[in-house]
């Protein structure tokens, strides 16, 4: 009897609402990927560098915020603390990678591989500082849900999507409307030309790291309301962020804003209508396929024309 009733409830209308629910869930998961990817794209568009420690910066932000929120302070204070701490980390990383370049010249491969080392070191340090217990930050919309038929999607997913859009437009404003943004774009386009134009390269590189780290910190706080975060979460956040960034185009923040949700919805629908093995394989397969078939990402032509 129960099964018959279930079938009646889940008729055509039920299937549509079910599909709508999984699309919304996918968009929420995609927002996590977009937020992860935005930090990676931010550094790339501001300096031409890739940062494999972006997931760790997100975890640093999340765990800092969890500590502040756990000690009785509000969400805004926790977000502020996360931004401050990740900002300092960004300055340190920027100094670590940019200052030696003044003496020894620039080798981008060394920096890229160096960020892998930083990622491993940061994961271990985060484990020592914050412990290995999973942390979650209570969302300001924790009790609110989006009703979709008989389903209830967490309202925080919508907040993450809004967060990703806000970060995107903030970056767009900075890059297009400010002198700082112009200098960052000049460095990303070519060091020699930027230097000849009077741009202080090292300073801009450090600023790029600072901005990317702050974006990562804020993203980490948003993500930590739906994903229990431990130091090892950095790998998952980093790989998914790269998948979204590569899919959308590394030089295209708009691309990652779309690439993240595309990945999220694909994963969600794969889990719902295929199986878990397929769902888990979506992000790495998309990453490999994009690198092989369309290395500049889905939005390649637009990326050529503009960076932000």
């Amino acid at each position: 009897m129960e099964q018959v009733r279930e079938r009646r409830v889940h008729g055509d209308h039920g299937q549509v609402t079910e599909l709508a629910y999984f699309v919304v869930i996918g968009l929420g998961i995609g927002a996590v990927y977009a937020l992860s990817g935005l930090g990676i794209v931010t550094l790339f568009t501001g300096s031409g560098l890739l940062n494999f420690a972006q997931g760790d910066l997100m975890v640093l932000g999340a765990l800092t915020a969890a500590g502040v929120a756990g000690s009785g302070h509000g969400y805004v204070a926790a977000l502020g603390a996360a931004i401050a701490v990740t900002g300092i980390a960004g300055l340190l990383l920027g100094g670590l990678f940019a200052l030696p370049l003044r003496q020894r010249g620039f080798d981008i491969d060394v920096v890229v591989i160096g960020t892998l080392g930083v990622a491993i070191t940061m994961t271990n340090l985060l484990g020592i500082w914050f412990g290995r217990e999973p942390e979650r930050i209570e969302s300001p919309v924790a009790s609110a849900t989006i009703p979709i038929g008989n389903f209830f999607a967490p309202m925080h997913y919508a907040l993450m999507l809004v967060g990703a859009v806000v970060v995107f437009f903030g970056m767009r404003l900075l890059m297009r409307r400010t002198d700082l943004g112009l200098q960052l774009r000049a460095v990303a386009a070519g060091v020699s030309a930027a230097r000849d134009s009077g741009v202080r390269i090292v300073r801009m590189l450090i600023v790029s790291w600072l901005i990317a780290a702050v974006v990562g910190g804020a993203a980490g706080v948003l993500v930590a309301s739906v994903v229990p975060v431990v130091p090892e979460s950095a790998t998952m956040l980093g790989v998914n962020g790269f998948s979204a960034a590569i899919l959308g185009g590394l030089a295209n923040p708009f691309g990652v804003l779309i690439g993240g949700p595309i990945l999220g919805v694909t994963e969600s629908l794969s889990g719902a209508y295929l199986n878990e093995t397929v769902r888990q394989a979506v992000a790495p397969v998309v990453l490999l396929a994009t690198l092989l078939l369309r290395p500049r990402g889905l939005f390649a032509s637009r990326a050529k024309a503009r960076t932000v």
């Binding site: 494999f52 981008i108 999973p134 998952m236 719902a272 878990e276 093995t277 992000a283 690198l291």
Partner: protein
């Protein structure tokens, strides 16, 4: 700024990461190494070394850290009371990262350090990999991994505290029969923990005449498990068995709310992980599980108080396990001295009704043919109520 080699380097590194991520689908083994040696007050004789193998990095690191704290606290207490037979206990605590190769190498380390016994570890694949090395080194090992495949190897030097996965599944079947649950959905995680238990669950359910309404898997780090929970709901299942470790139960609790699940979730003993209540709060109310600890036992209360004096937060199940394991070894050392073979023989017939694990009046018992101390019937059923788990009476 963009170097001609950048594209190639980027493609190479990202491809490597993608391949690694693909390879990681279905497993959760991490590895790293670390070392902590704990010593406390000096005794009159030579120090007694006990090797402790824990996955202090990787997916089980949180639980392993809690157990490490508990061992250190207990060792300090023992040493403060003149140690064992006038000798201090030295815990050689090592990290296997959940990696079998590292775990095997640690047996050699403990052997060379003269360890009289080895405690650990959590992960069944690691304990299975260590089996031959343990047999060769002839060191008694007390493992708290729950895989019943460990016992099937019949290694005379390996003992499991239990309950094993088979023991917990037997308890589950008993509960289902008593409560007329006939069509459970089985959801196992894709880590070694879940994949190891999956065939055991399937065989035990088949033997008991229970046909699962759904038999599916999920990733331990899944952000959202509502798709698989919805499948369970639509399969007509009257309960959901979720086989995983600790924090993912919180994700299931929120997922159950999202799809208005309406049927109970049955977890493993690790659903007692304090992070489940911390992360899920009242959403965890639909989760049932078997716990090896009965909180009404006076000895349990005593250990709880000792933990609370030293650390913040809820007393984790690991503190109780650590207490029992060290008690068993120390009892043995007091009776038979520091000889490994004599200690193994002692463990072979060890019986106790005073350990923390098990029901009130229950017996923890090793025999020459049974190296699992706590049987499946010797557990206590718990249910989450308002974000805390509480003992429930079952039929």
């Amino acid at each position: 700024m963009r170097h001609p080699r950048t594209g190639r380097s980027l493609a190479l590194v990202l491809s490597l990461l993608a391949v690694l991520a693909l390879a990681a689908c279905g497993t959760s083994d991490d590895r790293s190494e670390g070392a902590t040696t704990t010593t406390a007050a000096k005794g009159a004789g030579e120090p007694i070394v006990i090797g402790v193998d824990l996955p202090l990095s990787g997916p089980s690191a949180g639980a392993a850290e809690r157990m490490k704290k508990a061992f250190e606290l207990l060792a300090a207490e023992i040493n403060a009371n003149d140690g064992v037979n006038g000798s201090e206990i030295v815990l050689d605590i090592q990290d296997d990262g959940g990696d079998p190769t590292t775990g095997v190498a640690l047996i050699d380390r403990f052997n060379q350090a003269g360890a009289v016994a080895i405690i650990g570890t959590y992960n069944t694949p690691v304990v299975l990999a260590q089996s031959d090395a343990i047999l060769a080194a002839k060191i008694p090992q007390l493992a708290f991994a729950i895989g019943s495949s460990i016992g099937e190897k019949q290694n005379p030097w390996v003992f499991q505290t239990g309950p094993t996965d088979k023991g917990q599944i037997d308890g589950l079947i008993e509960y289902f029969k008593a409560n007329k649950i006939t069509k459970p959905a089985i959801l196992t995680d894709t880590s070694a923990f879940g994949t190891g238990a999956k065939p055991v669950l399937e065989a035990a359910f088949a033997e008991a005449g229970i046909t699962p309404a759904l038999n599916d898997t999920f990733a331990v780090d899944a952000t959202d498990v509502s798709p698989v929970l919805l499948k369970a709901k639509q399969s007509g299942a009257d309960a959901v068995v979720v086989w995983t470790v600790g924090p993912p139960y919180a994700v299931f609790a929120t997922g159950a709310q999202q799809v208005d699940l309406g049927i109970p979730i049955f977890g493993t003993a690790s659903a007692a992980d304090p992070n489940v209540a911390k992360l899920a709060g009242a959403a965890a109310n639909n989760i049932f599980f078997q716990n090896s600890i009965d909180p009404q036992k006076p000895a349990v209360v005593e250990v709880s108080n000792a933990w609370a004096d030293e650390f913040d937060g809820t007393v984790p199940a690991e503190a109780f396990s650590a207490h029992d394991i060290l008690t068993i070894i120390v009892d043995g050392l007091k009776k038979v001295g520091n000889d490994r073979e004599a200690l193994r023989d002692y463990l072979d017939t060890y019986t106790s009704t005073s350990l923390l694990a098990g029901r009130q009046g229950g017996t923890f018992e090793f025999t020459p043919t049974n190296h699992v101390g706590l049987g499946g019937g010797n557990t206590v059923w718990n249910k989450y109520v308002n974000g805390e788990f509480t003992v429930i009476t079952v039929k």
